[in-house]
């Protein structure tokens, strides 16, 4: 009684060999089987090994043998199972009887019946195109393809887009124009094989920690260069950090190009053999003298020269960009200014090189190829009769049901609602009312819809709460399918847990909607995710993303995922191989050449001025937070890793001038809204700039709805605000 060394409390923490190559595990959670899934958060595409006991998941660990993550994961991945058990999971369809009445549980039959009835009534009154959908980069490719095909070929919708518009649309357009196809050329091993790694508007330490791990595995003692207005975690690790003024990237990159050309530091042979448009480019960058580049960027001229010299000195230089480039009103041309530098210096198609876009969501790449929104299924063109006939042939449908135009982009759909051209909207696994730019406006616009259907795993998202009908969806871990990661690697997810209540896999929901709509027969062959995977393979035949050589899901698992392209009859690829593109210097334009693309930088759409003297930057807060936090806020461990309440980073000089004490409550105001936040006084932001993480509900009340003219991606990181004590 007096001294007790053993007992139930001690046993609670005992560890025991877990088997399955797992090492020791908590004895309570010793698995009797394991299953591997690609993680469902970001586009890194780590694989997680779920520990199963009596057919249910009890724990997970990152998979050691997977070529992407090799046994590590970020906090989100570690907590991927926890968020499935949240009390606010949607467990039954919810229907709003009328007007402002609260949503009420209904049967699936009633829910689907009402959805079809209301949608058909809207189409009867306002035309087939008056229905639209907003989808996501968070569901498997097979589900995206089914939704896209169902909505456009089955239900007659013309317009659908995804939240991927918010993250990688810029890269898609930049690649398509430069390379002739949306083909990110790299493999993660390039991080390990570079001599110089240039990050533009990217903070992988926080946004993609497992990719940063790959940088740390580089044994060539690489020089890391960071272009970012903020002094980020990644900037802290850099050999050279260029804290340029926001949105001055083009001036810097063109200025560097001018130096490289002037000093003969270019790979003339590569430019000659594999590119077009060099003369125009070389003439264009002449105006970006060192003085101009320094003036535009606020950098010291010698820092710019040093950057050029480092790029020149590197035998293998890789360029990587993320949201600092993509989420801009001139993102496409900025991304292409990065691509131009890689082409100019011949840093393409060799190990450790490339102009490389790190994507955002777990299946953004799947969406790029198979969402049937901007591109016809499989990276085809809606406007091309041959492509339409090919797709119709593969699917066994009448080519006439395929629209001749790509969908409207996200903001055009939103505008369509405002103009009463869109009256019914189906939102799948995204949270428009939180994440879309200029939030108060978009909430007002969503409120004008005749019928809003939200399909989500949580009934509590800001958008689901606005819905006329909520369809409860099964989550990652509760269904099968494939994701495609940033390096084009296709990996599987699978069902390891049963969904709560009556929640159904998105795949099943789409199939049911097809049946209730009356077009179920069109999707007879689409009977399971794996069956759809075989359809997708056929759709990819002959495309740069050809995956006809992949036999089935089992092969994906055995090989540790497979990168596209993987055509049938192609050269053999070793299991776990890491392949980059364009080794032969042949690009996808008809002439086989990559294009130099460039344009004059444009002024800030909303430059800071007298009333709103600060420039607001938004972005990721911590590695433990994901987007609108519908999932990550459900884990108690993750909640410990970031502040509960929204905060604003402000430079000490600005804080002093405004009478703001550290950790005081402040108000941040823009022309569109105002928010209260806690001041984090830090030199990681420059004077005149503020930073607010995007994960907090209020952040987008401030942002300004401005878009890149080519990619239609919202410019989240540049609007004018003011700040002062509360």
């Amino acid at each position: 009684m007096l001294r007790q060394r053993e007992g139930h409390l001690t046993r609670d923490l005992v560890r025991t060999p877990g088997g399955f190559g797992l090492g020791q595990v908590p004895a309570r959670h010793k698995p009797d089987a394991t299953a591997d899934l690609v993680c469902g958060y970001c586009s890194t595409g780590c694989r997680l090994t779920v520990h199963l006991k009596d057919g249910a998941p009890v724990n997970l660990t990152p998979s050691p043998g997977y070529p992407v993550n090799r046994g590590t994961a970020c906090p989100k991945g570690w907590e991927a199972l926890t968020v499935l058990d949240a009390p606010d999971r949607a467990t039954t369809p919810l229907l709003r009887p009328a007007g402002d009445a609260p949503q009420r549980p209904v049967s699936w039959d009633a829910a689907l019946g009402t959805m079809v009835e209301r949608f058909k009534a809207i189409q009867a009154r306002h035309g087939a195109g008056s229905l639209a959908f907003l989808s996501t980069g968070q569901i498997p490719t097979e589900e995206m393809a089914l939704l896209g095909a169902l909505a456009k070929f089955g239900m007659g919708m013309l317009h659908g887009d995804g939240n991927t518009r918010q993250c990688m649309a810029t890269s898609v357009v930049a690649y398509k124009q430069a390379f002739g196809f949306d083909a990110p050329p790299y493999t993660y091993r390039d991080f390990e094989e570079s001599d110089v790694i240039v990050f533009v508007g990217a903070n992988p330490c926080i946004a993609h920690p497992i990719l940063w791990e790959r940088v740390l595995r580089n044994r060539r003692n690489p020089k890391v260069i960071v272009l970012d207005p903020r002094f980020t975690e990644t900037a802290m690790q850099a050999a050279q950090h260029l804290p340029l003024q926001p949105k001055s990237d083009q001036s810097l990159l063109y200025g560097v190009a001018r130096i490289l050309i002037e000093r003969g530091w270019i790979d003339a042979g590569y430019v000659e053999a594999h590119t077009s448009g060099y003369e125009g480019y070389a003439a264009f960058v002449q105006q970006f003298t060192l003085d101009r580049a320094a003036a535009d960027t606020g950098l010291e001229p010698r820092e710019i020269e040093r950057l050029a010299a480092t790029i020149h000195a590197g035998e293998r230089v890789s360029f990587w960009w993320t949201m600092g480039v993509n989420q801009s009103y001139q993102g496409v041309r900025t991304a292409q200014a990065v691509i131009d530098l890689a082409l100019l210096t011949g840093n393409m198609g060799r190990p450790g090189t490339g102009a490389n876009s790190i994507t955002g969501q777990c299946n953004a790449m799947g969406s790029r190829l198979f969402s049937n929104t901007t591109n016809l299924l499989g990276g085809h063109d809606f406007g091309d009769a041959g492509d339409r006939a090919k797709v119709a042939g593969v699917l066994g449908i009448d080519p006439a049901v395929i629209p001749h135009e790509p969908s409207w982009a996200y903001h055009e759909i939103v505008k369509g609602i405002l103009e009463e051209r869109i009256k019914g909207l189906w939102v799948v696994a995204t949270n428009t009312a939180h994440s879309w730019i200029n939030q108060s406006q978009v909430r007002d616009i969503l409120g004008r819809l005749d019928f809003l259907v939200v399909q989500d795993m949580y009934a509590s998202t800001e958008t689901a709460r606005m819905a006329d009908l909520v369809l409860p969806a099964a989550a990652w871990g509760e269904k099968d399918g494939t994701f495609i990661n940033s390096e084009r690697r296709i990996g599987t997810i699978r069902k390891v847990a049963s969904a709560p209540g009556e929640a159904l896999a998105d795949f099943a929901i789409f199939k049911l909607v097809a049946e209730y709509w009356g077009c179920g027969e069109m999707f007879g062959e689409w009977e399971s995710p794996e069956a759809v995977f075989h359809i997708l393979k056929r759709l990819s035949a002959g495309q740069p993303c050809d995956i006809t050589g992949i036999a089935d899901y089992a092969m994906l698992d055995e090989r540790g995922g497979i990168q596209w392209p993987y055509p049938a009859g192609g050269p053999p690829v070793a299991p776990g191989a890491e392949r980059h593109l364009f080794e032969d210097g042949r690009f996808h334009h008809p002439d086989g050449r990559a294009r130099f693309l460039f344009e004059d930088p444009r002024p800030l759409p909303e430059a800071p001025g007298e009333r709103y003297p600060f420039l607001l930057l938004t972005g990721r807060g911590t590695a433990a937070q994901w987007h609108t936090q519908t999932r990550t806020a459900k884990s108690a461990v993750l909640r410990k890793l970031y502040p509960d309440d929204v905060y604003v980073e402000i430079n000490p000089a600005d804080a002093r001038a405004r009478g703001i004490r550290p950790h005081a409550r402040v108000e941040v105001r823009s022309r569109r809204g105002r928010i209260k936040a806690t001041a984090f006084v830090t030199r990681s932001v420059q004077p005149g700039q503020l930073f607010v993480p995007m994960h907090y509900e209020v952040t987008n009340r401030l942002t300004d709805a401005v878009f890149d003219p080519y990619s239609k991606q919202p410019s989240y990181k540049a609007c004018a605000v003011d700040v002062g004590p509360v």
Binding site: M1, L2, R3, H8, L9, T10, D12, L13, F20, G21, Q24, P26, A35, D36, A56, P64, G65, Y66, R70, G71, T72, A73, C74, P75, E79, L112, G113, C205, I206, P209, W212, E213, L216, F231, P243, T492, R494, K495, V496, A499, L504, K511, L512, E515, G518, D557, P575, T622, A623, A624, V637, K640, L641, N651, P652, A653, H663, F680, R683, S684
Partner: protein
Amino acid sequence: MADAPVPATLVDHYLRLQREAGTAVDRFARAHDEASGSGGPSPTGRYSALMPATPPGEGQQYAFEVDLDACSGCKSCVAACHAMNGLEDEESWRDVGLLHGGGEGAPVMQHVTTACHHCLDPACMHACPVDAYEKDPATGIVRHLDDQCFGCQYCTLACPYDAPKYSAAKGIVRKCDMCSDRLAEGEAPACVQSCPGEAIRIRVVDANQVVEESETNLFVPGAPEPEITLPATTYRTARVLPRNMIPADYYSVNPTAPHWPLIVMLALTQLSVGAFLVEQVLGLVAPAALMASIRPLHSASALVFGLLALAVSVLHLGRPQYAFRAVIGLRHSWLSREIVAFGLFAGLAVTYAAWPWIGARFLSGGGAAPPWLGWTVAGAGVAGIGCSVMVYQFTQKDFWNGWSTGCKFLLTAAVLGLAAAWLSLMVTAAWTESAASAAALERYGPVLCRALIAAAALKLVFEAALFRHLAARSTTSLKRTALLMSGALSQVTAARFAAGVVGGIAMPALVLVSRPPAGEDVMLAPFVAMLFVACLAGELLERYLFFAAVASPKMPGGV
């Protein structure tokens, strides 16, 4: 409705499919064994570079080593510790904080991962009243014996690094054991395995070196003084961190969760001891007959408060059924000593208080307890208060330093003891209606009243003196406390001073200036009872602030 009626069974079909948990698992689960793995190296081989080649020898122990340059702040170690050790919902034995500083245009950010430092001189172990901690002689790992713990949480106050974490659900504390099961098999601890940057290692360190580095404060900026406990963790960096590195939460001040049972226990034990003490002092000057008349009531009520305090203190334990274990830490734990001292005090006090009732019957020599017994009770009580002071002094928090805590606790004993004695005198006079009592009240009432005013005023001034720290430029821990008391806890602070002034100064002063006609002092009994309650409320609120407003040195926290 739909063009063609759809049988409801299709919905049922998909619902059935969705509920079949086993199918996908059977289809996909790889029943691979240890040897085949998933193509990757085993956890043992994979991290060999992060593990020591040999076990610790004489004068050595295992320790964490953190490469600050390799930590980029992803915080995977926190999540991995939670998952790989099967901890409770929000439980993890690792935390990650942030230091920032540097100059304009050259800022520095440094994330700092921290867990138990497996100190050479662990405060948790010395503090623990039930010997639930042991430092493994071979490995140096500070282990917590979960089934021995009775949930007093004293270690959570004593550890400068916030390493032991209390689980209310389990009623015990748990902490990092450096994954000793894994270490024993040559496997890396969860945090070591999970760090993408390989920033955390296990190293064998020499005790002498740890002492030397602690004495020269070679630890990590923003952390508590390492010389208190000699933490074995080493933080390495190839860079020079600027002098102005501060934790990201440096300016945030948040109240600490108060410990209600401890608040009540401290205030009431001090009331009880104070009452006995005042009685003894009064006995030195007052006639024996008078003392004999007030003693039965006074000692009994002082005893009731004392016993109530001890009963309430047990509620503080996560596992009160093991309260008796508290005696085994007597040799090193001030909490054990406090419990034993107050146990002794209670035993003696019971004897003393019972003496007038029982002694008269069974003992020759009449009803009065021998004076030595009274002094022994008071002495044991003062020793108990001394132990209480040391319990908090031991935690090395500025607000709880021995001098200030000692003054507070003794003045609480004085204020409440005087008020109680005055009330006892008054109630006795009213009860017995004897002329002697009334005379005694008239003679000694004003004395007690003046003493009460003096003690209460002194205490309030002493407490208010804390606010001088508001003027400090740097955010010292006492300034944090003052900020809390004048900010987030300002209502409690206002109530505390109001109760103190009303009960300890204003009401007694009113009695002094407007004395009732001679012989009618007893009419004041309800008034004095009210001021006693006000004093007691004031002291309870002061003790609430004692816990809620304390600022603890800690490892750097997050934004």
